[in-house]
Symmetry: C2
Subunit: 112 residues, 2 copies
């Protein structure tokens, strides 16, 4: 796990990226997907995720579809067209930010 301060500010970017790649996902699914694809190094907390999802819906970045799975409720999120543009911008911005930080901290990326 990384120091939480590092992860700060990247939540929206991560959510938008996952939702552009996956058509629709529900909150809990997002937490599990991030945990899995980062080998547990990034773990989104529900206390941070849910309020952010609600805010993004309110802002028209995401839309929702509620479904009943058995007796449980499941709330799927999708990116709106507005959200798609924002997703691109956010990912590109993070990419550029990384380039800048690599220069500033004098670090090289691992080649894969």
């Amino acid at each position: 796990m990384y120091a939480s301060e590092l992860i700060k500010g990247t939540l929206k970017t991560i959510v938008l990226k996952l939702l552009t790649d996956n058509e629709r996902m529900y909150g809990y699914e997002i937490t599990q997907k991030v945990k899995e694809s980062t080998s547990g190094k990034i773990q989104l907390t529900e206390g941070a995720l849910y309020p952010t999802l609600h805010a993004m819906e309110k802002q028209g970045i995401l839309s929702t579809e509620v479904e009943n799975v058995g007796n449980r409720i499941r709330k799927y999120y999708k990116v709106t067209p507005t959200g798609k543009k924002l997703a691109d911008d956010k990912v590109n911005e993070f990419s550029a930010f990384m380039e800048t930080m690599m220069i500033l901290l004098d670090i090289q990326p691992k080649l894969s």
Copy 2:
């Protein structure tokens, strides 16, 4: 300029890196150096920097030397031995974090 939320959490790492490379620097100098070497893309605000410097001194990460330059005061900061270890850790952690984010966001670093 990057969205401020992106830069959040990186302030201490940036300060520690600069101070390990430069022996000693004063607050204003740090803001200018960062601005210059990122072509203005990262601009530290004094309201964020000074309280952080004070906190780091209190924690034994940095030590200070006050000097008079003309009629003005200048407060130089240096990393303590404790700070040197932390600087390494912080930079390595950010580096690892970037690797993780590159996988998660599916972005490649520019080769230089």
